[in-house]
Amino acid sequence: MTKIEEYASPVENQWCPGCPNYGILTALKRALAGLDLAPHRVCLVSGIGQAAKLPHYLKANVFNGLHGRAIPAAIGIHVAHPELKTIVSSGDGDLYGEGGNHLLHALRRNPDITVIVHNNRIYALTKGQASPTTPRGERTRLQFGGVEADPTQMLATAIVHGCTFVARGFAGDIDGLSDTLARAIGHRGLSLVDVIQPCITWGHHPVDWYRERVVPIAEEHDPTDRGAAIGLAIDVGDRFPIGVLYELPPAPTFAASYRERVGDGPMVDLPRIDRSVVEQHLDRLIVSP
């Protein structure tokens, strides 16, 4: 078994003391240990923002790329090395705002990756502007008169697109979150977990305000019921059902046909195609009388 200590990173943590991001970090370590995934078998991918620093605080392979572009990088990694557990961990501004288009198209492709969204409903690292999930009317350090747009509904969008694993978690509930993350990472295909992560510096409400408003999803909920799942997924602003909203049996994953044709392992282990394959093409370009 892989022990939690094996994920220890020597990097100094830059998060605010007491930030619920620590809860997500702990829950992720527990989930990985529970799945017995040694650090070298995991690839953490992130964009930019406080949440996107998480990969530095957990020993694993890391691709800490550009703001908003974690998902396309993760897709490339997944295609080139399908045996790695590729996990995107970034913020709501990064994944729903700057990179929203990539998430939308990832839902169509169904790569075998997990996307963890640290949803603090604010741009924290840039000091307090609205994010795509900030509630309408909320005043920010840029939207001084209040946000004049509705929050994105990405979890509902994911369900509409047939994402086969959609969940909401709460950073203040480490036990529940680590279970949800373990299920998401173990699921074959794209799994999306939106984690309520109250911002203790720029947010409008303290952690306890959220704690009073998160509600575990009832056991009677049928996670294959798309309508019910969408109902639970809609962000109404002050009530947050947590747990697995929607789960379907795995669907064909991205690049499956290529793997069937060319080989199942990492691309780095594939031998080069024989030069004769190319030379046959070049020969076909010759025109003789």
């Binding site: 800490n64 790329g65 572009r69 490339g76 080139a80 198209h105 691309m267 030069r275």
Partner: protein, 559 residues
């Protein structure tokens, strides 16, 4: 022999098929052809041309004038009339007139009569063109047979019958002025486009991954991989160019040789990703197929406007390689070189092509892969106990492991990072060394980059300096000017960045020749190498530079 034939019509009217059939007829007859294309950004209508140049030996450069103009409709005839040489011939569907140098061939009526359907009008047209240039009908019959073989005997028959009708009609009208028939020769040529050979060379170089967003004139690159699964390259149409380059970087970081392809506008979207490649020192190859800008510009026309953009794109300071092929063989060699330089120096490598190069087919004596194709340069994970991705290393490039190799973890970060790859703000010990490490690769690259190719410069009083796709047009211009007693030579840059450290040529005058309005190569040569460039012959109307364009320019403005 040096004949130029224009096949012209509207988009969707079938000029490409006619052009391809007639070009193959010449090749089957033992003569090299050069085929270029000029068209509008639309699906139907407008004016477009396929230009076939046939010569005794390969003349892989365009001609702007036509010895024979085949116009499929009256609008095309009017549009391209100016291009016809003084003693040139026009073939069009207009009824026979008394006018000399004009053949009126009723394409559609002949197709209906002899092929049974209007759609065979193109075969009639091809037949008339073959007769006009003196090709034997048997050659056309054979090529039509090959071209339509898969569609069945009836289709082949209808094409051949229709072509025969067009051939006979043109031959009848030409009765008194038969064109000289070039004798059949036993010569063999490789007939290819540079965008046709780039994907093949990439596959041979070990490329396994391409992500790209469709954009003229680059789309043929990813399409070739999708059409030929035997090349073993995973091809994904990304949602945008930003996704394309980030997918490519992800795949490369995970151990696949990876590439993308785009044009100027898409490359603009990739600029941040290019900078990321520089920062995380992850090799990728990017084909940038130029077209005229700014913005959407002229999507289907040609230009060399993105040289400085390719060299300067991306924020921050980081090394890259820029190579510019001139023909299909050059494209093979430089594609393989791009993958190798990118991999060994852990930098992005850009292949700078253009619409002219993308859409032109060349005849070459041979087309071949290099004997040695360099292997990958990933490190051996069993040789190290601990691993730091950016460990200080001679030459700047550290031993590179991909994600998941051995039992190691690999950390890549777009932030400034420690040798272990982790985010840092250590401005004393880490940042200065990290910058120097990355830029050391530029110095190493510069020592490896190949000098430009000089042609007939020894006694030259004027040297024309060009890069990329203009190589063959400039060589032809030098031929023409030398034949006229002018002491002219040329210097061609195929490897443009880092610029090789070479002194200026020892000629009285040095001019650049470029498909842009601001003399981008001249700016580089002056600024980076201190070359005294007197002048630039530029072209920015969207059409390729041809030899006559240069000769005319030099005749008017003798230095």
């Amino acid at each position: 022999m040096d004949r130029s034939l224009f096949v012209t019509g509207a988009a969707g009217e079938g000029i490409q098929t006619i052009g391809d059939v007639v070009a193959r007829c010449f090749l089957r007859h033992g003569y090299p052809v050069f085929v270029s294309q000029e068209f509008e950004s639309r699906i139907r209508g407008g004016h477009s041309s396929v230009r076939i140049r046939v010569a005794d030996s390969p003349r892989n450069a365009p001609r702007a004038d036509a010895d024979v103009l085949l116009a499929l409709n009256p609008s095309a005839e009017a549009h391209y009339a100016d291009a016809v040489c003084a003693d040139g011939l026009t073939i069009s569907p207009q009824s026979l007139t008394a006018e000399a140098n004009h053949l009126g061939v009723p394409f559609v009526p002949l197709a209906t009569t002899h092929g049974g359907r209007e759609v065979y009008a193109n075969a009639v047209a091809a037949g008339s063109l073959c007769a006009a240039v003196g090709l034997p009908f048997a050659v056309l019959e054979a090529v039509l047979g090959e071209t339509f073989e898969k569609r069945g005997d009836a289709v082949v028959r209808a094409n051949v019958d229709s072509a025969r009708a067009g051939f006979d009609e043109a031959a009848d009208q030409l009765a008194n002025e038969k064109t000289e028939i070039p004798p059949r020769r036993d010569m063999t040529y490789a007939f290819a486009s540079a965008h046709g050979t780039i994907p093949l060379a990439a596959a041979a170089a070990g490329c396994r991954f391409i992500a790209a967003y469709p954009m003229s004139p680059s789309t043929g690159i990813i399409t070739a991989f999708a059409r030929h699964p035997e090349l073993g390259v995973f091809a994904e149409q990304a949602e945008d160019e930003i996704a394309a380059i980030n997918m490519t970087l992800g795949a490369s970081a995970a151990g696949a040789r990876a590439m993308t392809a785009t044009s100027g506008g898409g490359f603009a979207l990739m600029a941040e990703g290019l900078s990321l490649a520089g920062m995380i020192e992850t090799p990728i190859v990017i084909v940038v197929a130029q077209r005229p800008g700014p913005a959407t510009g002229l999507p289907t026309r040609t230009a060399q406007e993105d040289l400085l953009f390719a060299i300067r794109a991306g924020h921050g300071e980081f090394p890259r390689v820029v190579l510019a092929p001139s023909d299909p063989q050059d494209a093979i060699d430089l594609t393989i070189r791009a993958f190798d330089l990118a991999d060994r120096h852990q930098v992005p490598a850009i292949l700078l092509t253009d619409q002219f190069l993308a859409d032109s087919s060349f005849s070459l004596d041979r087309l071949e892969l290099p004997v040695e194709i360099p292997a990958d340069h990933l490190a051996d994970p069993t040789e190290m106990d601990t691993y730091a991705r950016y460990a200080p290393s001679d030459g700047g490039a550290s031993p590179r492991l991909a994600f998941g190799q051995g039992g190691h973890t690999v950390v890549l970060d777009s932030d400034e990072h420690t040798p272990e790859g982790h985010i840092t703000e250590d401005l004393k010990a880490v940042r200065p060394r990290a910058v120097e490490k990355r830029l050391e690769k530029l110095r190493r690259l510069r020592s490896e980059i190949r000098p430009p190719i000089a042609d007939r410069t020894d006694d030259a009083e004027l040297i024309l300096v060009g890069w990329g796709s203009t190589k063959h047009a400039i060589a032809e211009a030098v031929d023409l000017l030398r034949a006229d007693g002018r002491k002219v030579g040329s210097v061609h840059f195929a490897e443009l960045w880092p610029l090789p450290k070479v002194g200026p040529p020892a000629a009285k005058h040095t001019w650049t020749v470029e498909g842009n309005a601001t003399g981008q190569l001249a700016q580089l040569l002056r600024g980076e190498l201190g070359w005294p460039i007197d002048k630039t012959i530029g072209r920015w109307d969207g059409l390729p530079i041809d030899a006559r364009f240069l000769v005319q320019h030099l005749t008017e403005k003798t230095p």
